[in-house]
């Protein structure tokens, strides 16, 4: 490895160094405030280093392809980790005693996500996914007293281990067919291998898709989502919803593009089916939810269904190169909008309920009690629903334009239909917050004290959602350069 490789790998190295420093600090003298500050500085430095690495885009060893769009997503993921870190400062907010291990696991998980995003090889894909997953199991089960997190963690552990085993089996079959493990190598050899050994290739790719679909909680593989979302401490749910899922989607899109999977109609058909089922099931099941974390869990299923539409659009890549860029742009914009909106929503949930937000009724009359938090949640919900002037609207606009240009009528109809259903349950959250005199006041949870920074964080996220929706031109220009 050359020195320049180290510059390219700066985000990965930054996180690794932070992990080692936190570990040494914890082993010398336990002090969770100090560990928090080290993690905070380390993650901030990583954010800066993603910017540094943009000057050195290259392939580093067979394992990583450092490119601008990967680095942009890495920085987005790092912001997600930063917000999670800020949300988990004190015990009151998270409902459990935060120790140094928590920060260590958070950093390790973020490292896994960054590896997953920058991976260009099956080995690094698997390592990133496992690093992300294994740290997450422990983070979900972190609160010691409660049985709910443990239940969520065990569900996630068992199903996720099965998914990983399936992924490995898929890799083995693809390797048996092509003799290559790097994305581009697979892309080059898959078509000839597909003629020689069609069964191997089909079985391998479908196992791979099922496993990734599990991690993204796409519809037939979504069973774990609501329980894990509900059981996990709110900051961890936030992390799962933004960092884990976002990184996985980027990995899927990179694999699809570099592995040239878009030229196989069967693969695209599988993706379309997953997308349609996810959009319908996610929105349908979200309708009747009474708990906001469960509601967001189901809505995330639907959102990742929408995102798959942009991937399916790649099937027309042979006909025009335009599609490639517009599809990539749609993924970039929608995912960015989704991650920032989710961060805003979960920040408010963590600020309002702490650990005990069992019910939507605890949000009743929030507008009159905590206007800043309530308006942030309102903006987040409007953005999720895709109402104009928010980031979510432009994201959906991108997807609809793309689906129109590529004649994906069925997907388009499902997308519009799903969004129409979704408006109902998003508006229900806003409506609940507006109710002034609720007859059953006993559901009013004691509000936790709100320091200045809680409101500040909510305001920053709210402004980013609105800015991305009202003045997106700078961001669109930036994306075109990726």
């Amino acid at each position: 490895m050359k020195v320049i490789d180290f510059y390219s790998l700066a985000p990965i190295l930054g996180l690794s160094v932070t992990i080692i420093v936190v570990m040494i600090q914890a082993s010398i003298k336990r002090n969770h405030k100090l560990a928090w500050w080290i993690s905070f500085l380390g993650v901030t430095a990583t954010l800066w280093s993603t910017h540094l690495a943009t000057s050195y885009p290259q392939q580093v060893t067979p394992l990583f392809l450092i490119n601008p769009s990967g680095l942009w997503f890495s920085s987005l993921i790092t912001v997600g980790a930063l917000v999670t870190l800020i949300l988990s400062t004190d015990d009151e907010n998270t409902g459990f005693k935060v120790t140094e291990e928590y920060y260590l696991l958070l950093l390790l998980s973020t490292l896994g996500a960054v590896v997953l995003i920058l991976a260009s090889h099956m080995a690094s894909l698997l390592l990133g996914m496992e690093l992300l997953g294994i740290s997450l199991y422990a983070m979900i089960a972190f609160p010691e007293k409660d049985p709910n997190p443990l239940e969520g963690a065990i569900k996630y552990l068992v199903l996720s281990a099965a998914a990983s085993a399936m992924l490995l089996f898929g890799f083995a079959l693809i390797y048996a067919a092509t003799g290559d493990l790097s994305y581009t190598g697979i892309g080059a050899k898959l078509s000839s291998a597909g003629i020689k050994n069609p069964l191997l290739v089909v079985a391998g790719t479908s196992m791979l898709l099922a496993s990734i679909g599990f991690k993204l909680s796409l519809a037939p593989f979504h069973m774990w989502t609501p329980d894990v979302y509900q059981g996990a401490p709110t900051p961890v749910t936030n992390f799962l919803a933004t960092v884990s899922k976002g990184a996985m989607l980027v990995a899927l899109s990179r694999f699809t593009i570099d592995g040239q999977l878009h030229q196989y109609p069967t693969f695209m058909l599988c993706l379309s089916v997953l997308a349609i089922i996810s959009m319908l099931v996610g929105n349908w099941l979200a309708l009747r939810q009474q708990q906001i974390k469960r509601l967001l869990a189901y809505s995330s299923i639907a959102h990742f269904g929408y995102l798959l539409v942009a991937l399916v659009a790649l099937r027309q890549l042979q006909e025009s190169d335009e599609i490639f860029y517009s599809s990539l742009e749609a993924i970039n914009f929608y995912l960015t909008a989704y991650i920032i909106t989710s961060l805003a929503a979960f920040t408010v949930i963590a600020n309002i309920g702490g650990e005990n937000d069992p019910d939507m009724r605890s949000f009743a009359g929030l507008f009159w009690r905590k206007p800043v938090q309530a308006s942030t949640l309102t903006v987040a919900m409007l953005s999720f629903a895709g109402i104009p002037l928010t980031a979510g609207f432009l994201g959906k606009f991108y997807l609809i334009t793309l689906a129109l240009n590529t004649n994906l009528w069925l997907l388009l109809i499902t997308l519009v239909f799903g969004s129409a259903i979704a408006i109902y349950y998003y508006l229900r959250v806003i409506y609940t917050m507006l109710i002034t005199s609720s007859s059953d006041n006993n559901y009013e949870v004691p509000l936790i004290s709100s320091p200045m920074w809680r409101d500040a964080l909510a305001i920053i996220l709210m402004i980013s959602v609105i800015l991305l929706g009202t003045w997106p031109q700078p961001f669109i220009d930036f994306m075109r350069h990726l």
Partner: protein, 168 residues
Amino acid sequence: MLELTLFYIASTVALFATVLAMTRTNAIHALIYLIVSLLAIAVIFFLIGAPFAAALEIVIYAGAIMVLFVFVIMMLNLGEKGDARERQLLQPHVWLGPAILSLVLLVELLYLISTVEGPASSGSVSPKSVGLALFGPYVIAVELASMLLLSGLVGSYHLGRRYLDRGL
């Protein structure tokens, strides 16, 4: 043709042992079958020209990890009841199954070693080439694997500590 037969014998043993491992209700029985399954996979590795991977499979999985499991489970069964259970483990119906399966593998391995040509497939992967690959192009993967172990360690430490604190 011969190597194909040997491969099928070893894979049958592996499949059979794994299915038995999954269906046993007693954890010790299951683990013993799992060890047999790992041994069978090691024989397959040896057969397809990866003797180093075969050795690692035995040393690490069957040798270290599985034996650790068996130890821990046996340690948990201390006391009168545990002694009775341990005596039960020495009954022939418990060890006969795994023993027969292992015997098949042993015969196969002895036969393989005694044939002068060694592994039938062309070109075996030497420890040196494994090391060169691991510390050449895949060096970052090795580092990441160590991070993976770290996260497993930290996670299990935290989750296990709640029982230590209660003084179990």
